[in-house]
Protein backbone atom coordinates (compact mmCIF):
# COMPACT_ATOMS: atom_id res chain seq x y z
CA UNK A 1 0.00 0.00 0.00
CA UNK A 2 2.73 2.42 1.05
CA UNK A 3 6.47 2.13 0.78
CA UNK A 4 9.16 4.62 1.74
CA UNK A 5 12.65 3.77 0.61
CA UNK A 6 15.50 5.79 2.15
CA UNK A 7 13.45 8.97 2.08
CA UNK A 8 15.72 11.88 2.91
CA UNK A 9 14.89 15.41 3.94
CA UNK A 10 17.36 17.86 5.38
CA UNK A 11 16.65 20.85 7.56
CA UNK A 12 19.12 22.82 9.61
CA UNK A 13 20.06 20.56 12.50
CA UNK A 14 17.81 17.71 11.38
CA UNK A 15 17.99 14.99 8.79
CA UNK A 16 15.23 12.51 7.96
CA UNK A 17 16.31 9.16 6.60
CA UNK A 18 13.31 6.90 6.67
CA UNK A 19 12.45 3.49 5.24
CA UNK A 20 9.12 1.94 6.10
CA UNK A 21 6.30 -0.06 4.63
CA UNK A 22 2.59 -0.35 5.28
CA UNK A 23 1.08 -3.61 4.09
CA UNK A 24 -2.50 -4.07 2.93
CA UNK A 25 -4.72 -5.19 5.81
CA UNK A 26 -2.34 -3.78 8.44
CA UNK A 27 -2.33 -0.91 10.88
CA UNK A 28 1.21 0.34 11.15
CA UNK A 29 2.24 2.66 13.95
CA UNK A 30 4.96 5.27 13.90
CA UNK A 31 6.16 6.31 17.33
CA UNK A 32 8.81 8.68 18.52
CA UNK A 33 9.30 11.72 20.70
CA UNK A 34 8.42 15.26 19.59
CA UNK A 35 10.71 16.40 16.78
CA UNK A 36 11.77 12.83 15.95
CA UNK A 37 10.55 13.16 12.35
CA UNK A 38 7.02 11.74 12.44
CA UNK A 39 5.28 14.76 10.93
CA UNK A 40 8.09 15.27 8.39
CA UNK A 41 7.60 11.66 7.30
CA UNK A 42 3.84 12.18 6.93
CA UNK A 43 4.34 15.40 4.97
CA UNK A 44 6.80 13.68 2.64
CA UNK A 45 4.27 10.87 2.03
CA UNK A 46 1.55 13.43 1.24
CA UNK A 47 3.79 15.43 -1.09
CA UNK A 48 3.60 18.52 1.11
CA UNK A 49 7.38 18.77 1.25
CA UNK A 50 9.95 17.88 -1.37
CA UNK A 51 12.40 15.03 -0.80
CA UNK A 52 16.16 15.34 -0.94
CA UNK A 53 16.50 11.66 -1.82
CA UNK A 54 14.84 8.27 -1.80
CA UNK A 55 11.44 7.25 -3.10
CA UNK A 56 7.85 6.89 -1.96
CA UNK A 57 5.25 4.61 -3.50
CA UNK A 58 1.54 4.69 -2.74
CA UNK A 59 -0.71 1.98 -4.23
CA UNK A 60 2.37 0.83 -6.16
CA UNK A 61 2.84 4.20 -7.88
CA UNK A 62 5.59 6.78 -7.28
CA UNK A 63 4.07 9.78 -5.48
CA UNK A 64 4.81 11.97 -8.49
CA UNK A 65 2.21 9.86 -10.37
CA UNK A 66 -0.43 10.08 -7.66
CA UNK A 67 -3.37 11.88 -9.23
CA UNK A 68 -6.61 13.34 -7.97
CA UNK A 69 -8.44 10.00 -8.24
CA UNK A 70 -5.75 8.30 -6.15
CA UNK A 71 -6.08 11.07 -3.57
CA UNK A 72 -9.74 10.16 -3.20
CA UNK A 73 -8.54 6.80 -1.87
CA UNK A 74 -6.49 8.42 0.89
CA UNK A 75 -7.87 9.78 4.15
CA UNK A 76 -5.68 12.15 6.10
CA UNK A 77 -5.37 13.64 9.55
CA UNK A 78 -2.57 16.16 10.03
CA UNK A 79 -1.29 17.20 13.43
CA UNK A 80 -0.70 20.84 12.56
CA UNK A 81 -3.28 21.63 9.86
CA UNK A 82 -6.96 21.23 9.09
CA UNK A 83 -9.96 22.65 7.28
CA UNK A 84 -10.09 26.42 7.00
CA UNK A 85 -11.22 27.87 10.33
CA UNK A 86 -13.59 30.22 8.52
CA UNK A 87 -15.83 27.39 7.32
CA UNK A 88 -18.53 25.50 9.22
CA UNK A 89 -19.27 21.79 8.98
CA UNK A 90 -22.36 22.68 6.92
CA UNK A 91 -20.02 24.47 4.49
CA UNK A 92 -17.82 21.39 4.24
CA UNK A 93 -20.62 19.02 3.23
CA UNK A 94 -21.20 20.30 -0.36
CA UNK A 95 -17.45 20.80 -0.76
CA UNK A 96 -16.62 17.21 0.24
CA UNK A 97 -19.57 15.91 -1.80
CA UNK A 98 -18.13 17.42 -4.95
CA UNK A 99 -14.57 16.37 -4.16
CA UNK A 100 -15.15 12.71 -3.27
CA UNK A 101 -17.18 10.42 -5.51
CA UNK A 102 -17.79 8.08 -2.57
CA UNK A 103 -18.50 10.69 0.08
CA UNK A 104 -20.85 9.15 2.65
CA UNK A 105 -22.82 12.26 3.51
CA UNK A 106 -25.26 10.67 5.93
CA UNK A 107 -22.49 8.85 7.77
CA UNK A 108 -20.46 12.05 7.93
CA UNK A 109 -23.34 13.95 9.51
CA UNK A 110 -24.13 11.05 11.85
CA UNK A 111 -20.53 10.80 13.07
CA UNK A 112 -20.28 14.59 13.50
CA UNK A 113 -23.41 14.45 15.63
CA UNK A 114 -22.06 11.48 17.60
CA UNK A 115 -18.95 13.51 18.43
CA UNK A 116 -21.21 16.48 19.22
CA UNK A 117 -19.49 18.71 16.68
CA UNK A 118 -21.48 21.92 16.13
CA UNK A 119 -22.57 22.03 12.51
CA UNK A 120 -23.05 25.79 12.26
CA UNK A 121 -20.09 27.06 14.22
CA UNK A 122 -16.90 28.25 12.51
CA UNK A 123 -14.17 25.63 12.80
CA UNK A 124 -11.71 28.19 14.21
CA UNK A 125 -13.89 28.26 17.33
CA UNK A 126 -13.55 24.48 17.80
CA UNK A 127 -11.25 23.06 20.47
CA UNK A 128 -8.16 21.10 19.33
CA UNK A 129 -9.97 17.84 20.08
CA UNK A 130 -13.03 18.86 18.07
CA UNK A 131 -10.88 19.83 15.08
CA UNK A 132 -9.16 16.46 15.28
CA UNK A 133 -12.48 14.60 15.48
CA UNK A 134 -13.71 16.46 12.41
CA UNK A 135 -10.62 15.49 10.40
CA UNK A 136 -10.99 11.87 11.47
CA UNK A 137 -14.66 11.79 10.50
CA UNK A 138 -13.84 13.37 7.12
CA UNK A 139 -11.03 10.86 6.56
CA UNK A 140 -13.26 7.90 7.37
CA UNK A 141 -16.33 8.80 5.35
CA UNK A 142 -15.22 8.63 1.73
CA UNK A 143 -14.26 4.95 1.51
CA UNK A 144 -10.53 5.58 1.47
CA UNK A 145 -8.22 2.61 1.03
CA UNK A 146 -5.35 4.14 2.97
CA UNK A 147 -5.52 6.30 6.07
CA UNK A 148 -2.55 8.47 6.97
CA UNK A 149 -3.17 9.71 10.48
CA UNK A 150 -0.69 11.98 12.21
CA UNK A 151 -1.56 12.17 15.92
CA UNK A 152 -5.32 11.61 15.44
CA UNK A 153 -5.87 11.11 19.18
CA UNK A 154 -4.08 14.29 20.30
CA UNK A 155 -6.34 16.55 22.33
CA UNK A 156 -9.05 13.91 22.75
CA UNK A 157 -10.40 12.80 26.11
CA UNK A 158 -10.26 9.11 27.06
CA UNK A 159 -13.80 8.34 25.92
CA UNK A 160 -13.41 10.08 22.56
CA UNK A 161 -10.07 8.31 22.05
CA UNK A 162 -11.70 4.98 22.69
CA UNK A 163 -14.54 5.74 20.26
CA UNK A 164 -12.04 6.83 17.63
CA UNK A 165 -9.92 3.71 18.00
CA UNK A 166 -13.06 1.60 17.66
CA UNK A 167 -13.89 3.49 14.47
CA UNK A 168 -10.45 2.66 13.09
CA UNK A 169 -10.89 -1.02 13.99
CA UNK A 170 -14.30 -1.01 12.26
CA UNK A 171 -12.72 0.67 9.21
CA UNK A 172 -10.20 -2.17 8.97
CA UNK A 173 -12.93 -4.81 8.89
CA UNK A 174 -13.20 -4.19 5.13
CA UNK A 175 -10.59 -5.84 2.92
CA UNK A 176 -7.97 -3.94 0.95
CA UNK A 177 -7.39 -1.20 3.49
CA UNK A 178 -4.44 -0.03 5.56
CA UNK A 179 -3.57 2.64 8.11
CA UNK A 180 -0.37 4.44 8.98
CA UNK A 181 -0.83 6.13 12.34
CA UNK A 182 1.37 8.10 14.69
CA UNK A 183 0.65 8.91 18.29
CA UNK A 184 2.55 10.08 21.29
CA UNK A 185 0.17 7.99 23.42
CA UNK A 186 1.75 4.59 22.93
CA UNK A 187 -1.06 2.74 24.70
CA UNK A 188 -3.29 3.79 21.78
CA UNK A 189 -0.94 2.03 19.38
CA UNK A 190 -0.34 -1.01 21.60
CA UNK A 191 -3.91 -2.17 21.30
CA UNK A 192 -4.39 -1.11 17.68
CA UNK A 193 -1.31 -1.64 15.53
CA UNK A 194 -0.11 -4.80 13.83
CA UNK A 195 3.43 -3.48 13.62
CA UNK A 196 5.32 -0.50 14.90
CA UNK A 197 8.18 1.62 13.65
CA UNK A 198 10.10 3.69 16.16
CA UNK A 199 11.71 6.87 14.84
CA UNK A 200 14.37 8.94 16.56
CA UNK A 201 16.38 11.88 15.20
CA UNK A 202 14.92 11.23 11.76
CA UNK A 203 15.96 7.57 11.63
CA UNK A 204 13.98 4.39 12.13
CA UNK A 205 15.62 2.80 15.16
CA UNK A 206 13.27 -0.14 15.61
CA UNK A 207 10.71 -2.08 13.62
CA UNK A 208 8.75 -4.92 15.13
CA UNK A 209 5.38 -6.59 15.08
CA UNK A 210 3.41 -5.35 18.10
CA UNK A 211 2.85 -8.88 19.44
CA UNK A 212 6.57 -9.61 19.31
CA UNK A 213 7.34 -6.27 20.92
CA UNK A 214 5.03 -7.01 23.81
CA UNK A 215 5.78 -10.74 24.13
CA UNK A 216 9.54 -10.97 23.55
CA UNK A 217 10.97 -7.59 24.48
CA UNK A 218 11.74 -6.79 28.09
CA UNK A 219 13.78 -4.66 30.43
CA UNK A 220 16.42 -6.21 32.67
CA UNK A 221 17.41 -4.47 35.88
CA UNK A 222 20.64 -5.57 37.57
CA UNK A 223 23.63 -4.59 39.63
CA UNK A 224 26.99 -3.75 38.06
CA UNK A 225 28.37 -7.18 39.05
CA UNK A 226 25.43 -8.96 37.43
CA UNK A 227 25.84 -6.79 34.34
CA UNK A 228 29.53 -7.71 34.01
CA UNK A 229 28.67 -11.42 33.98
CA UNK A 230 25.68 -11.05 31.62
CA UNK A 231 25.65 -12.54 28.09
CA UNK A 232 25.07 -9.45 25.96
CA UNK A 233 24.20 -11.14 22.69
CA UNK A 234 20.50 -10.26 22.93
CA UNK A 235 20.92 -6.86 24.55
CA UNK A 236 19.78 -3.97 22.33
CA UNK A 237 20.38 -1.00 24.62
CA UNK A 238 21.91 -0.39 28.07
CA UNK A 239 21.58 2.46 30.49
CA UNK A 240 23.54 3.24 33.64
CA UNK A 241 21.27 3.56 36.68
CA UNK A 242 21.83 4.29 40.36
CA UNK A 243 21.38 0.62 41.23
CA UNK A 244 23.54 -0.62 38.32
CA UNK A 245 22.18 -1.11 34.79
CA UNK A 246 18.92 -1.31 32.88
CA UNK A 247 19.04 -3.23 29.62
CA UNK A 248 16.59 -3.67 26.78
CA UNK A 249 16.38 -7.14 25.26
CA UNK A 250 14.38 -8.71 22.48
CA UNK A 251 14.77 -12.16 24.14
CA UNK A 252 13.08 -11.68 27.51
CA UNK A 253 12.44 -15.38 28.04
CA UNK A 254 16.12 -16.26 27.54
CA UNK A 255 17.15 -14.03 30.43
CA UNK A 256 14.20 -15.11 32.58
CA UNK A 257 15.31 -18.74 32.23
CA UNK A 258 19.07 -18.27 32.47
CA UNK A 259 19.36 -15.38 34.91
CA UNK A 260 16.68 -15.92 37.56
CA UNK A 261 18.50 -13.54 39.93
CA UNK A 262 17.97 -10.61 37.53
CA UNK A 263 14.71 -8.63 37.59
CA UNK A 264 13.09 -9.02 34.16
CA UNK A 265 10.16 -6.76 33.38
CA UNK A 266 7.82 -6.95 30.42
CA UNK A 267 7.91 -3.18 30.01
CA UNK A 268 5.38 -0.94 28.36
CA UNK A 269 5.93 0.48 24.90
CA UNK A 270 6.78 3.81 26.56
CA UNK A 271 9.55 2.13 28.56
CA UNK A 272 10.84 0.37 25.47
CA UNK A 273 10.89 3.69 23.61
CA UNK A 274 12.77 5.34 26.46
CA UNK A 275 15.37 2.58 26.44
CA UNK A 276 15.76 2.65 22.65
CA UNK A 277 16.21 6.39 22.65
CA UNK A 278 18.13 7.07 25.84
CA UNK A 279 20.05 3.80 26.16
CA UNK A 280 23.45 3.08 24.63
CA UNK A 281 24.23 0.30 22.19
Amino acid sequence: MLRLNKVKKQYEGFELNCTLEVQEGCITGLIGKNGAGKSTTFKAILGLISMDGGSIEIFGKPISDIGIQDKEDIGVVLSDAGFSGYLTIYDLIPMLRSMYRNFQEEEFIRECERFRLPMNKKIKEFSTGMKRKLQVVAALTHEAKLLILDEPTAGLDVVARDVLLDMLRAYMEHEGRAILISSHISSDLEGLCDDIYMINDGKIVLYEETDVLLDSYGILKMTTEQYDKLEKEHILRCRREEFGYSCLTDQRQFYQENYPEIAVEKGTIDELIMMMIRGEK
Binding site: I49, D80, A81, G82, F83, S84, P94, M95, S98, Q135
Partner: protein, 218 residues
Amino acid sequence: MKGLFIKDLRLLKGQKSFFAAVVIMMTFFMMTYRNYSFVISYVTIMFGILTLTTMSYDEFENGMGYLLVLPISRKQYVIEKYLFSILSTVTGLLAVSGCAAVISGIRNIDFLWEDWVSSVIGSFMIVTIMLAVMIPLQMKFGAEKSRVAMMLVFGGGALIVYMGMKLSEALEIDWTGMIEWLESLKTAAVFGGFFVICGLVMVISCQYSMHVIKKREF
Protein backbone atom coordinates in the same frame (compact mmCIF):
# COMPACT_ATOMS: atom_id res chain seq x y z
CA MET B 1 -12.36 22.23 -9.02
CA LYS B 2 -16.07 22.53 -8.27
CA GLY B 3 -15.30 21.78 -4.62
CA LEU B 4 -12.83 24.68 -4.51
CA PHE B 5 -15.41 27.07 -5.95
CA ILE B 6 -17.93 25.91 -3.35
CA LYS B 7 -15.35 26.41 -0.61
CA ASP B 8 -14.56 29.96 -1.76
CA LEU B 9 -18.22 30.89 -2.08
CA ARG B 10 -18.85 29.51 1.40
CA LEU B 11 -15.87 31.47 2.72
CA LEU B 12 -17.34 34.65 1.26
CA LYS B 13 -20.72 33.83 2.78
CA GLY B 14 -19.10 34.66 6.11
CA GLN B 15 -18.17 38.13 4.86
CA LYS B 16 -21.52 39.69 5.68
CA SER B 17 -20.01 42.82 7.26
CA PHE B 18 -17.84 43.38 4.17
CA PHE B 19 -20.80 43.16 1.81
CA ALA B 20 -22.92 45.33 4.11
CA ALA B 21 -20.18 47.99 4.10
CA VAL B 22 -19.94 47.87 0.29
CA VAL B 23 -23.72 48.18 -0.09
CA ILE B 24 -23.85 51.13 2.35
CA MET B 25 -20.98 52.91 0.54
CA MET B 26 -22.55 52.21 -2.85
CA THR B 27 -25.98 53.47 -1.75
CA PHE B 28 -24.44 56.58 -0.20
CA PHE B 29 -22.45 57.46 -3.32
CA MET B 30 -25.30 56.74 -5.71
CA MET B 31 -27.77 58.79 -3.70
CA THR B 32 -25.49 61.79 -3.17
CA TYR B 33 -23.29 62.04 -6.28
CA ARG B 34 -24.32 62.49 -9.90
CA ASN B 35 -21.21 60.91 -11.39
CA TYR B 36 -21.08 57.15 -10.82
CA SER B 37 -17.60 56.48 -12.22
CA PHE B 38 -16.00 56.31 -8.79
CA VAL B 39 -18.59 54.04 -7.20
CA ILE B 40 -18.49 51.62 -10.15
CA SER B 41 -14.70 51.39 -9.90
CA TYR B 42 -14.83 51.12 -6.12
CA VAL B 43 -17.29 48.21 -6.00
CA THR B 44 -15.61 46.39 -8.90
CA ILE B 45 -12.20 46.64 -7.23
CA MET B 46 -13.54 45.54 -3.84
CA PHE B 47 -15.15 42.46 -5.40
CA GLY B 48 -12.03 41.81 -7.49
CA ILE B 49 -9.73 41.53 -4.53
CA LEU B 50 -12.04 39.15 -2.62
CA THR B 51 -9.94 36.29 -3.99
CA LEU B 52 -7.03 37.51 -1.85
CA THR B 53 -9.29 37.25 1.20
CA THR B 54 -10.14 33.63 0.36
CA MET B 55 -6.43 32.90 0.03
CA SER B 56 -5.78 34.33 3.50
CA TYR B 57 -8.56 32.12 4.86
CA ASP B 58 -7.07 29.08 3.13
CA GLU B 59 -3.75 29.82 4.81
CA PHE B 60 -5.30 30.23 8.28
CA GLU B 61 -3.68 27.84 10.79
CA ASN B 62 -1.70 26.11 8.03
CA GLY B 63 -4.94 25.11 6.29
CA MET B 64 -3.28 25.12 2.87
CA GLY B 65 -1.37 21.97 3.73
CA TYR B 66 -4.56 20.15 4.59
CA LEU B 67 -6.39 21.52 1.56
CA LEU B 68 -3.73 20.10 -0.72
CA VAL B 69 -4.09 16.57 0.66
CA LEU B 70 -7.73 16.60 -0.46
CA PRO B 71 -8.41 15.43 -4.03
CA ILE B 72 -7.24 18.58 -5.77
CA SER B 73 -3.94 19.39 -7.45
CA ARG B 74 -1.78 22.42 -6.84
CA LYS B 75 -2.38 23.45 -10.47
CA GLN B 76 -6.14 23.28 -9.97
CA TYR B 77 -5.87 25.40 -6.85
CA VAL B 78 -4.05 28.14 -8.76
CA ILE B 79 -6.37 28.07 -11.78
CA GLU B 80 -9.43 28.19 -9.53
CA LYS B 81 -8.11 31.30 -7.79
CA TYR B 82 -7.68 33.15 -11.09
CA LEU B 83 -11.08 32.03 -12.39
CA PHE B 84 -12.69 32.96 -9.10
CA SER B 85 -11.10 36.42 -9.23
CA ILE B 86 -12.48 36.99 -12.74
CA LEU B 87 -15.88 35.72 -11.65
CA SER B 88 -16.02 37.91 -8.55
CA THR B 89 -14.83 41.01 -10.47
CA VAL B 90 -17.43 40.55 -13.20
CA THR B 91 -20.15 39.85 -10.60
CA GLY B 92 -19.24 43.07 -8.76
CA LEU B 93 -19.22 45.03 -12.00
CA LEU B 94 -22.60 43.66 -13.12
CA ALA B 95 -24.17 44.28 -9.72
CA VAL B 96 -22.95 47.85 -9.40
CA SER B 97 -23.71 48.64 -13.05
CA GLY B 98 -27.25 47.32 -12.61
CA CYS B 99 -27.73 49.43 -9.49
CA ALA B 100 -26.24 52.47 -11.25
CA ALA B 101 -28.61 52.01 -14.21
CA VAL B 102 -31.67 51.74 -11.93
CA ILE B 103 -30.75 54.59 -9.56
CA SER B 104 -29.63 56.92 -12.37
CA GLY B 105 -33.04 56.26 -13.98
CA ILE B 106 -34.90 57.05 -10.75
CA ARG B 107 -32.82 60.19 -10.11
CA ASN B 108 -32.99 61.30 -13.78
CA ILE B 109 -29.22 61.36 -14.06
CA ASP B 110 -27.77 61.16 -17.54
CA PHE B 111 -25.17 58.44 -16.95
CA LEU B 112 -23.00 58.27 -20.06
CA TRP B 113 -21.85 55.09 -21.76
CA GLU B 114 -18.35 56.61 -22.05
CA ASP B 115 -18.21 57.17 -18.29
CA TRP B 116 -19.13 53.55 -17.72
CA VAL B 117 -16.46 52.35 -20.15
CA SER B 118 -13.77 54.46 -18.51
CA SER B 119 -14.83 53.19 -15.05
CA VAL B 120 -14.65 49.58 -16.24
CA ILE B 121 -11.25 50.10 -17.85
CA GLY B 122 -9.88 51.90 -14.79
CA SER B 123 -11.15 49.37 -12.27
CA PHE B 124 -10.16 46.34 -14.37
CA MET B 125 -6.69 47.78 -14.77
CA ILE B 126 -6.30 48.20 -11.01
CA VAL B 127 -7.77 44.76 -10.27
CA THR B 128 -5.55 43.12 -12.90
CA ILE B 129 -2.39 44.75 -11.58
CA MET B 130 -3.27 43.99 -7.96
CA LEU B 131 -4.22 40.36 -8.57
CA ALA B 132 -1.43 39.66 -11.05
CA VAL B 133 1.06 40.79 -8.42
CA MET B 134 -0.65 39.74 -5.20
CA ILE B 135 -1.79 36.19 -6.08
CA PRO B 136 1.74 34.92 -6.83
CA LEU B 137 3.14 36.83 -3.84
CA GLN B 138 0.55 35.31 -1.53
CA MET B 139 1.16 31.86 -3.04
CA LYS B 140 4.86 32.23 -2.33
CA PHE B 141 5.00 33.99 1.00
CA GLY B 142 1.58 33.40 2.58
CA ALA B 143 -0.85 36.13 3.66
CA GLU B 144 1.34 37.86 6.28
CA LYS B 145 4.72 38.02 4.60
CA SER B 146 3.21 38.88 1.21
CA ARG B 147 2.11 42.28 2.55
CA VAL B 148 5.74 43.29 2.99
CA ALA B 149 6.58 41.85 -0.42
CA MET B 150 3.62 43.77 -1.90
CA MET B 151 4.89 47.07 -0.51
CA LEU B 152 8.31 46.38 -2.01
CA VAL B 153 6.87 45.38 -5.40
CA PHE B 154 4.47 48.35 -5.68
CA GLY B 155 7.14 50.70 -4.32
CA GLY B 156 9.56 49.36 -6.92
CA GLY B 157 6.87 49.69 -9.61
CA ALA B 158 6.19 53.32 -8.67
CA LEU B 159 9.91 54.02 -8.77
CA ILE B 160 10.23 52.49 -12.24
CA VAL B 161 7.28 54.59 -13.53
CA TYR B 162 8.83 57.73 -11.99
CA MET B 163 12.23 56.96 -13.51
CA GLY B 164 10.54 56.28 -16.87
CA MET B 165 8.81 59.67 -16.75
CA LYS B 166 12.04 61.43 -15.85
CA LEU B 167 13.88 59.58 -18.58
CA SER B 168 11.29 60.48 -21.22
CA GLU B 169 11.55 64.12 -20.08
CA ALA B 170 15.34 64.02 -20.33
CA LEU B 171 15.21 62.37 -23.76
CA GLU B 172 12.38 64.75 -24.81
CA ILE B 173 10.15 61.92 -26.01
CA ASP B 174 6.86 63.28 -27.31
CA TRP B 175 3.88 61.12 -26.27
CA THR B 176 1.28 63.39 -27.86
CA GLY B 177 1.16 61.30 -31.04
CA MET B 178 0.58 58.12 -29.03
CA ILE B 179 -2.21 59.76 -26.98
CA GLU B 180 -3.87 61.13 -30.11
CA TRP B 181 -3.69 57.70 -31.72
CA LEU B 182 -5.32 56.11 -28.65
CA GLU B 183 -8.06 58.74 -28.68
CA SER B 184 -8.70 58.12 -32.38
CA LEU B 185 -9.43 54.43 -31.74
CA LYS B 186 -13.02 53.24 -31.49
CA THR B 187 -14.34 52.33 -28.04
CA ALA B 188 -14.74 48.68 -29.04
CA ALA B 189 -11.13 48.50 -30.19
CA VAL B 190 -9.87 50.09 -26.96
CA PHE B 191 -12.07 47.76 -24.93
CA GLY B 192 -10.97 44.67 -26.85
CA GLY B 193 -7.28 45.59 -26.79
CA PHE B 194 -7.46 46.40 -23.12
CA PHE B 195 -9.04 43.06 -22.20
CA VAL B 196 -6.54 41.15 -24.33
CA ILE B 197 -3.70 42.87 -22.43
CA CYS B 198 -5.38 42.20 -19.05
CA GLY B 199 -5.93 38.58 -20.05
CA LEU B 200 -2.30 38.17 -21.08
CA VAL B 201 -1.09 39.69 -17.81
CA MET B 202 -3.32 37.29 -15.85
CA VAL B 203 -2.13 34.28 -17.88
CA ILE B 204 1.52 35.19 -17.23
CA SER B 205 0.77 35.73 -13.54
CA CYS B 206 -1.10 32.39 -13.39
CA GLN B 207 1.84 30.55 -14.97
CA TYR B 208 4.19 32.10 -12.43
CA SER B 209 1.85 31.21 -9.55
CA MET B 210 1.84 27.58 -10.71
CA HIS B 211 5.62 27.61 -10.71
CA VAL B 212 5.65 29.13 -7.21
CA ILE B 213 3.13 26.74 -5.65
CA LYS B 214 4.81 23.71 -7.20
CA LYS B 215 7.92 24.48 -5.18
CA ARG B 216 6.25 25.56 -1.97
CA GLU B 217 6.44 23.34 1.09
CA PHE B 218 3.70 23.14 3.69
